[in-house]
C-alpha cells in the first residue's frame, strides 16, 4: 500500500514537476490567525444559535452592555458605563457615548431598546428563551440611558447581560432581521466579518475603528480565518501541516504525542462545561426500560466515571457530584452518589427484570465517537446494548427537542454563567429539553430561577439536585477541562469561562 502511494507520488511529482507545491499557510508572516472550530454555525445571529462557537463569534463581532473580566470575574463597564437596580424588577443603565457600529451608525439607547425588546419578545422565537425571557421590556430614558423592566425577579440578570446578550445596531437589524444579521453580521466589536460562507468559513478583520477604553482592549491580529474541519483528525492534520494555527478540544490521548511536534504548543484549561448523560425517564421517546429508576441507577453504577475522566480529559477535570458546575451558585454537592460498582449495577438490572439487558440508542454529537464508544462499552457490561447515533450538534439538539432520544450524552457550558439557573433552568423546567416529566422538580427549579432570595434559591436548588441524583434523571459525568493546541508563534491564554478571546491574543 505504501508502494502504491509511492508510485502515485511519482505520478504527482511528474505532473507537478517544476512547480513549487506548498500550501498557502495562514500564520504570523501574513498576520492571519487561522482557527478551527468544531461546530458549524447554523446561524451567526447570536440569539439564534446555541453553540459555543456562536458565543465566540459574538464576542468578536459585537459588544455586551457589561463585560465580565475573564480572570477576576468582576463586572466591568462595556457599552454600559454604569448600572443600578432601581428595584428588584428595574435595572437602569447609563450608556457609553462615542461608540460606532461597523457600518458607521453611532451607538445609543435605541440600539439597546430595539435589540433587547426584539429578542425578549416571544413572537420572535429566539433559540434560547431562558437567556432572555426574564426581560419584560426595555424603556428608553434618554439618548444614553435605558431601563430594563424584568418580568420576574432575576438575580442573575447581570450575568446574562455580560454573557450571551450582544447589542445590535437597531436600524440595520430592523431592516434585515435575524436572517440578514446571520448572513452579514454587523456589530460594534473588535472584529468585523469580512466574509461569511455558510458552513464553510468566516473571515474576520480587525476593526481599526474600535472604540477605545473597551475592556476588550484593541485587537492585535489583523485577520482571523475560522474554518470548520469536521473532525479532530483533520484539525490535527491541519495544525501539524501548518494549515491552521489554533484548535481546541484536542483529544487527551493524543496530547503527549502532539506536544512533541515542533512548532506546536499545547495547554490545558478548565471550563465551566459539564458532561452529562440524560435518560428519558418520562418516556418521551416511547416506552422503555429507562423509565424504571433501577435501570437508570444501574447504568449510573456501571459507568466508571473516574476512569473516563482520567482517560479522556486533562487531570484538572473532575468527576461531578451534581448536574452542574461545582462553582455555580446553587450547585449542591451533597446528593446521592453513584460510585462505579458493577455488582450493584447488575443486581439492580436483575431486580428491574432485565438480567440480560436491553437494546437502546445513545444520541451524541462529539466527534469522533471515542467517548460514546467508551460509554457504550460501560453500559454493555450490564447488557445495555446502546447503538450510537452520532449527529451534528444542531441535529442533536433538534432530536433532543423532538424528544426521540432515549439516552443522550451531551455537555453544557452554561453560557459561562456562574449560576445553576443556567443549566438546571434549561434542563429541568418542563421545556423541550426536559426528560424528567417530574412536575415537582420543575416547579422547584422554576421557583429557584425566579426567586430573589439567595437562601431560598439555594434551598430549592439543593432539593432539585437531590431529586435529580436520587431518581437518576441525569448522570453528571465530569467537568470539561480542555486542551488547546496552537502554533508556538501565538501568545495565547485560556480562560476559565471557555471563551477564547481572540482579540486579546497576539503574535510573539
Amino acid at each position: 500500500m505504501y508502494g502504491t502511494a509511492r508510485r502515485l507520488a511519482c505520478v504527482i511529482t511528474v505532473v507537478g514537476a517544476g512547480l513549487c507545491v506548498s500550501p498557502a499557510l495562514a500564520n504570523k508572516a501574513n498576520d492571519t490567525l487561522s482557527v478551527a472550530w468544531d461546530a458549524q454555525l447554523d446561524n451567526a445571529d447570536a440569539y439564534f444559535n446555541t453553540s459555543r462557537e456562536g458565543i465566540l463569534l459574538a464576542r468578536m463581532v459585537w459588544d455586551q452592555l457589561i463585560e465580565r473580566d475573564p480572570v477576576s470575574f468582576e463586572y466591568r463597564p462595556a457599552l454600559a458605563t454604569a448600572w443600578r437596580w432601581l428595584d428588584p424588577l428595574t435595572l437602569e443603565l447609563d450608556l457609553r457615548k462615542g461608540v460606532k457600529f461597523q457600518n458607521g451608525q453611532p451607538f445609543d439607547a435605541e440600539d439597546v431598546v430595539y435589540t433587547l425588546n426584539f429578542v425578549s419578545n416571544p413572537d420572535n422565537k429566539v433559540l434560547n428563551a431562558t437567556n432572555v425571557n426574564w426581560i419584560k421590556n426595555v424603556e428608553k430614558i434618554d439618548e444614553y440611558k435605558v431601563r430594563i423592566h424584568l418580568s420576574r425577579t432575576f438575580p442573575a440578570a447581570l450575568e446574562y447581560l455580560a454573557g450571551p446578550m450582544p447589542i445590535y445596531p437597531h436600524v440595520y437589524y430592523a431592516k434585515v432581521g435575524p436572517s440578514g444579521m446571520a448572513r452579514q453580521p454587523i456589530g460594534s466589536g473588535p472584529y468585523r466579518v469580512e466574509k461569511l460562507e455558510a458552513g464553510k468559513s468566516i473571515t474576520l478583520v480587525k476593526n481599526t475603528d474600535y472604540w477605545s477604553d473597551s475592556p476588550k482592549g484593541t485587537p492585535k491580529i489583523g485577520k482571523i480565518v475560522v474554518t470548520f474541519p469536521p473532525e479532530k483528525t483533520t484539525q490535527m492534520a491541519e495544525l501539524m501541516s501548518g494549515g491552521i494555527d489554533w484548535m481546541w478540544y484536542v483529544p487527551t490521548d493524543q496530547v503527549k504525542d502532539i506536544e512533541k511536534v515542533k512548532g506546536i504548543t499545547v495547554v490545558s484549561g478548565e471550563t465551566m462545561r459539564v458532561g452529562y448523560i440524560y435518560f428519558d425517564a418520562a418516556g418521551r421517546s416511547g416506552k422503555s426500560p429507562l423509565q424504571d429508576i433501577r435501570v437508570r441507577r444501574a447504568i449510573a453504577y456501571a459507568i466508571n466515571r473516574p476512569e473516563f475522566a482520567k482517560t479522556f480529559f486533562p487531570s484538572t477535570a473532575s468527576v461531578l457530584k451534581a448536574p452542574c458546575f461545582p462553582a455555580q451558585f446553587g450547585c449542591y454537592q451533597g446528593a446521592t452518589q453513584y460510585d462505579y460498582n458493577l455488582a450493584k449495577a447488575k443486581e439492580l438490572m436483575k431486580e428491574a427484570g432485565y438480567p440480560d439487558g436491553f437494546n437502546t440508542t445513545l444520541y451524541a454529537y462529539r466527534q469522533p465517537s471515542t467517548w460514546e464508544d467508551a460509554l457504550a462499552g460501560y453500559m454493555s457490561q450490564i447488557g445495555v446494548k446502546a447503538s450510537i447515533q452520532l449527529l451534528q450538534y444542531a441535529a442533536f439538539r433538534t432530536k433532543n427537542n423532538e424528544g426521540v432520544t432515549p439516552i443522550s450524552f451531551g455537555d453544557w457550558g452554561s453560557y459561562s454563567i456562574n449560576d445553576a439557573s443556567a443549566i438546571l433552568g434549561n434542563f429541568f423546567t418542563g421545556t423541550r429539553d426536559d426528560f424528567t416529566g417530574d412536575a415537582e422538580l420543575q416547579a422547584w427549579v422554576k421557583e429557584a430561577d425566579a426567586s430573589p432570595e439567595p437562601k431560598t434559591r439555594e434551598e430549592l436548588y439543593r432539593k432539585a439536585v437531590e431529586r435529580i441524583m436520587d431518581r437518576m434523571y441525569a448522570l453528571p459525568m465530569n467537568s470539561y477541562a480542555v486542551y488547546y493546541a496552537y502554533s508556538s508563534e501565538l501568545n495565547f491564554t485560556p480562560f476559565k469561562d471557555e471563551i477564547p478571546r481572540y482579540y486579546l491574543y497576539s503574535w510573539k
Binding site: 502511494a5 506548498s22 500550501p23 498557502a24 469536521p230 449527529l391 444542531a394 441535529a395 427537542n401
Partner: protein
C-alpha cells in the same frame, strides 16, 4: 438526428421526473416537515400554522406538483440548518465538485489510456502486468483509506500539499488523485479490452495487409475505434464521480456538493440533501445524454445512415 435527439431527451425527461419523485419522497419520509421548519422551540400551534402556511396539509400529489414547479425555477426551498435558500448554497459549492470531478477524470484518462494501449499491445508483458496490478489494486483500495494514506504521506510527512479545505489548485491534487485512482481501473480495462478486440479485428488485418506502417495501423485504424466506447463510459464515470465524491470530499473536507450533502445528512437538513440528489441525478442524465450524442457523432455507423 433531430428525432433521435427528441426521443432520447424525452426518455431523459421521464427519468428526471421519476428521480424527482423519489427525492421528493425522500424529504417527506424524513419526518414531520412542519416540525423541522418551525424549529425546535415551536409549539403545537406554531407547527399547525407552519403546516398551513407551507401547504403541507395538502395532498402529496399537489405538494409534489408545487415543489416540482418551483424546483424547475431553481427554488428548492429553504435549508433547515442554514436558514437560507437551498439553491444558491448548492450553486456556490458546485464549481468545487465539478473541478474535482473533471480533474480526476482527466487524470484518470491521462494515465489509463496510454497504459491500456501499451498493455493491449504487449499482453502478458511486464507493463501489462503492471497495468493490471494497478487496476486490481485500485479496485480493491477503499478510497477513503487511500485518501487518509495520502494525507499522512503528502500532508503530514512531506508537507507538500494542504490536507483539507478548499482553496487553490493544490487543494485538489490529493482528492483528484484519490478519485482518479478509483475510476482508473474501469478506463484501463476498457481501453485494454477495446484495443485488444480492435487489434484482433478483420479490418486491422486488412490495414496491415495494405502494408501500412504499424503506427498508422495503431493510431489511425485501431485507436479511434477503441476509444469510441470510452466516451460514453467517461461521461458516465464523470456522473458517478460527481455522485461518489461524497466520500472523498468528506475525507479532504473539500467544500463541494458531496461534502455539503454529507454534512446536511448529518444535521438532518433534508431540503438540501433532496436538492443535491435531484441535481446530481439530473446532471448524470444530461451527461449520459450528451455522451450518447457525442458517441453518435463519433461513430459513422450511427451518424451517417
Amino acid at each position: 438526428m433531430f428525432i433521435y435527439f427528441l426521443k432520447r431527451s424525452l426518455v431523459a425527461l421521464l427519468v428526471a421526473i421519476t428521480v424527482s419523485i423519489i427525492s421528493f419522497m425522500l424529504l417527506h419520509l424524513s419526518g414531520d416537515l412542519a416540525q423541522s421548519l418551525a424549529g425546535p422551540t415551536a409549539s403545537e400551534a406554531d407547527i399547525i400554522q407552519v403546516r398551513k402556511a407551507y401547504g403541507l396539509d395538502r395532498p402529496l400529489v399537489v405538494q409534489y406538483g408545487d415543489w416540482a414547479s418551483k424546483a424547475i425555477r431553481g427554488d428548492f426551498g429553504e435549508s433547515f440548518f442554514l436558514k437560507q435558500p437551498v439553491f444558491p448554497i448548492i450553486v456556490d459549492r458546485f464549481p468545487v465538485t465539478i473541478s474535482l470531478g473533471v480533474s480526476a477524470l482527466l487524470l484518470a484518462l491521462l494515465v489509463s489510456i496510454p497504459l491500456g494501449i501499451v498493455a493491449a499491445l504487449r499482453p502478458n508483458s511486464w507493463i501489462d502486468r503492471l497495468a493490471l496490478t494497478i487496476s486490481v489494486f485500485g479496485q480493491a483500495m477503499p478510497s477513503f483509506w487511500f485518501g487518509l494514506l495520502l494525507i499522512m504521506l503528502f500532508g503530514i510527512n512531506l508537507r507538500w500539499l494542504p490536507v483539507s479545505g478548499t482553496g487553490g489548485w493544490q487543494y485538489y491534487v490529493m482528492p483528484a488523485v484519490t478519485l482518479a485512482y478509483y475510476s482508473m481501473p474501469a478506463f484501463m480495462r476498457l481501453t485494454r479490452a477495446g484495443m485488444m478486440e480492435v487489434l484482433a479485428s478483420d479490418y486491422i488485418r486488412t490495414a496491415r495487409a495494405k502494408g501500412l506502417r504499424s503506427m498508422t495501423v495503431l493510431f489511425k485504424h485501431a485507436l479511434r475505434n477503441a476509444v469510441i466506447p470510452l466516451v460514453a463510459v467517461a461521461a458516465v464515470q464523470l456522473g458517478f464521480a460527481l455522485g461518489g465524491s461524497v466520500v472523498i470530499e468528506a475525507v479532504f473536507s473539500l467544500h463541494g456538493v458531496g461534502y455539503l450533502g454529507w454534512e446536511s445528512i448529518s444535521r438532518a437538513d433534508f431540503p438540501v440533501v433532496q436538492a443535491i440528489v435531484l441535481i446530481l441525478a439530473c446532471l448524470y442524465i444530461v451527461l449520459t445524454l450528451f455522451a450518447d450524442l457525442l458517441n453518435a457523432f463519433l461513430d459513422p455507423r450511427i451518424r451517417v445512415n
